[in-house]
């Protein structure tokens, strides 16, 4: 039995769901970051797989850019997180409600 694109897509979506669950479940900001990384990686797999099975390099290109974005996100996000932690001593999501409308 050959591995088809569908296998990869199912895998990607399983990972994506894991990421989503993490995003929804986690209250610790650091953990939330991990979950987003999972989401990004899940898509990367999907892109690479599509790229492979269709024979088009655009998918890989997108994966590159996603990695670049992930890297920038981590840099900025962690920076902010540290500043936040230094001011409040907590990185709990439930305590960040200054945006209450």
């Amino acid at each position: 039995m050959a591995i088809t694109l569908t296998h990869y897509l199912v895998l990607a979506s399983v990972l994506f769901v894991i990421g989503l669950i993490g995003v929804m479940r986690r209250k610790n900001l650091l953990m939330l970051f991990f979950a987003t990384e999972i989401l990004l990686n899940a898509t990367n797999i999907a892109f690479a797989a599509i790229s492979h099975y269709i024979g088009d390099l655009s998918g890989q290109m997108f994966a590159f850019f996603i990695i670049a974005i992930a890297a920038s996100e981590v840099a900025i996000g962690l920076g902010l997180l540290i500043v936040w932690y230094k001011r409040t001593g907590k990185i709990d999501l439930d305590q960040m409600n200054s945006m209450r409308g």
């Binding site: 929804m24 999501l93 409600n97 945006m99 209450r100 409308g101």
Partner: protein, 628 residues
């Protein structure tokens, strides 16, 4: 000749504008004199035009374009032909007299200058009405006289009754004007033009049903202006205006515009005899109906107003039966003696300090000789006694009815002639004869200014001799109107009819004198006659004004209030507000979503993602399904 036409037309306008300039400043005699002078100029020009027309010419000018769009082309065009020149003469003569008279009558009024502005403006509108060569121009004049009538009825605007009457007159006329407007629309879309000559030349080619509708709608217009039933109530109320106004507008000129319209459109009405019969029947009905109300009225001016209404009925009988020239002739004769009657009544009013109840007068002939003579002669003319003007015109209408074999109409008109004589002389007897009841009220009557009486004299002369123009007049208008001679063929019948009518009328006069010449008390509503049903019915004008009030005015006001308070505010507006409120409330309620908790927000984000992707899938599936 065009110059004279323009002078005749625009001299009153100049007079009006000149007077309007001074309308803000206190009374100055010269305004009245200038306005009267300009009116006299207009009269002279009309007279010159009359001689010109009598020599067999007509004048037709087109001053400028008014409206032109699509196929519609309406110019300011004026025509002086055999019919319009007669009207012009009537209008200018009566209005010149009334202007001069008003200088005396309005002597003590604060609004002297304003009065002349309105009065001259009225004459201008009337001239436009009669001289226009198309229906749109006629409509300008038509509405113009309506406006001036509004301004003049409500001239004493501090009086509630006057302004109410003014509005009533205007609005009632508007109802009729709508009919006229529809008539004009019908003509335009079927003929393609509004010029008289084109319309009358083409009208025969149309389908009979369309011609009938045109005739009906134009007549509805005429009904309003000429106060025919059921739009008659405004005329009696219009007596709130100054008396010269009643004389000029509500007796001699404006109210006869309806008759003029029918006469002018004779080419149309000739083709639809059925409508003609209806017009004649309505005319006969109104003649009797109005005369009956005049029998018991105790307001001098209203009695004369009802008499006017009654005479308008006569005119419509003639016009409806196709005797257009007879209608126009009666219009002319009536204008003279009725204006005279009104001006006389004005003198009496002045003398009696605006008292209108003839029962409170009596014996005035001693102090007001001139007025007495004039009013008596005018009443004789109105009653139609030989050789006064009324005899020639009114008896002719009776003959028309007889010759055309409409015996019912003839009988009604004959009866009305008797009633007319009765109420006219009831008025004369009550005012000028009998005991001097006015002394009870401490009034010291005095004769009007000399020049007012002099001003009235031309009307007196015309009221007496107008009948002798009959043949000249007939020669003149037969160029334009159907020249049917109405003669009872049998000589015996003719003489019996004429003499019989005369005797009947004289009997009515004598009865009136007998009953009222020696009246001594002021009735207070306690006599048996005053309590009878018919008296009450007539006294309340058949309860028609009250009915209109109850059926139209009050429900309209109530409905308006409901439309505003209930429908507009409570339904339409409230619906919109409810929608807005709903959205606002939704916002308030969903505000909790934005509670600032990032975790919750993330969850909502996922919900949104799911919804969006479901939509995407659904649309794709749907699209493929449709595409396949």
């Amino acid at each position: 000749m065009e110059l004279y036409l323009y002078i005749a037309l625009f001299a009153p306008l100049v007079g009006s504008l000149y007077s309007a300039l001074f309308s803000g400043s206190p009374k100055s005699q010269q305004v009245g004199i200038v306005a009267s002078g300009l009116l006299f100029t207009s009269f002279l020009s009309s007279a010159i035009l009359l001689t010109y027309v009598m020599s067999g010419h007509t004048v037709h000018v087109e001053m400028m374009t008014w409206m032109a769009t699509g196929d519609l082309y309406i110019p300011f065009g004026f025509v002086v032909d055999q019919v319009s020149v007669v009207m012009m003469m009537v209008v200018t003569i009566v209005s010149t007299v009334v202007h001069v008279y008003s200088i005396g009558y309005m002597d003590h009024d604060k609004g002297f200058n304003r009065f002349f502005a309105w009065l001259s403006a009225f004459v201008f509108s009337m001239m436009v009405l009669v001289m226009s060569d198309n229906f749109a121009g006629l409509f300008i004049g038509w509405e113009g006289v309506g406006l001036c009538s509004w301004g003049l009825i409500g001239f004493w605007y501090h009086k509630e009754s006057a302004t109410w009457a003014a509005n009533e007159a205007f609005i009632m006329n508007r109802i009729a004007d709508l009919g006229m407007l529809i008539g004009i629309f019908l003509i335009y879309w079927n003929v393609g033009s509004l010029q008289y000559d084109v319309v009358f030349a083409e009208i025969g080619n149309l389908q009979p049903v369309i011609i009938t509708w045109i005739g009906i709608f134009l007549f509805i217009g005429a009904m309003g202006k000429s106060a025919q039933f059921p739009l008659h109530t405004w005329l009696a109320d219009a007596m709130e205006g100054p008396t010269p106004v009643s004389a000029l507008i509500h007796a001699a000129t404006m109210v006869t515009a309806g008759v003029y319209l029918v006469v002018r459109s004779n080419a149309i009405y000739d083709l639809i005899p059925n409508v003609g019969i209806f017009i004649a029947s309505l005319g006969a009905f109104v003649a009797l109906f109005a005369a009956s109300m005049a029998l018991v009225n105790r307001d001098m001016k209203r009695i004369i107003a009802y008499s006017t209404l009654s005479q308008l009925g006569y005119m419509f009988v003639a016009a409806g039966l196709g005797a257009y020239w007879v209608a126009l002739f009666h219009l002319m004769a009536h204008a003279f003696f009725k204006a005279l009657l009104f001006l006389g009544a004005g003198n009496v009013m002045h003398a009696m300090h605006d008292e209108l109840d003839p029962f409170k007068m009596g014996g005035l002939r001693k102090v007001m000789k001139g007025t007495f003579v004039m009013m008596t002669l005018a009443s004789v003319a109105l009653a139609g006694i030989y050789p006064f003007a009324g005899f020639f015109s009114k008896d002719l209408i009776l003959e028309v009815g007889f010759v055309e074999h409409h015996y019912v109409i003839y009988t009604v008109l004959l009866l009305t002639a008797g009633l007319t004589a009765f109420y006219s002389f009831r008025l004369v007897a009550l005012i000028f004869h009998g005991e001097e009841r006015y002394k009870l009220f401490g009034i010291h009557p005095h004769e009007a200014y000399k020049f007012m009486l002099v001003a009235m004299s031309p009307l007196l002369v015309l009221a007496i001799i107008a009948g002798s123009f009959k043949m000249t007049y007939f020669q003149l208008v037969m160029n334009l109107l159907p020249a049917t001679q109405y003669h009872v063929h049998d000589q015996t019948t003719y003489w019996i009819m004429t003499i019989g009518t005369q005797l009947f009328v004289i009997a009515a006069i004598l009865f009136a004198y007998k009953k009222y010449a020696n009246w001594s008390n002021v009735p207070d509503g306690s006599s048996a006659m005053e309590r009878s049903f018919f008296y009450k019915l007539l006294w309340n004008q058949y309860y028609i004004p009250k009915m209109y009030e109850e059926i139209f005015a009050k429900p309209y006001a109530e409905l308006s209030r409901i439309a505003w308070k209930q429908i507009d505010l409570k339904i339409v507006d409230a619906t919109v507000d409810a929608i807005a409120n709903g959205i606002y409330k939704t916002g308030e309620n969903t505000r909790d979503i934005q509670n600032g908790n990032l975790s919750t927000m993330l969850r909502w984000m996922v919900v949104g993602l799911v919804v969006l992707s479901i939509l995407a899938v659904a649309f794709t599936v749907g699209y493929n399904a449709v595409g396949a």
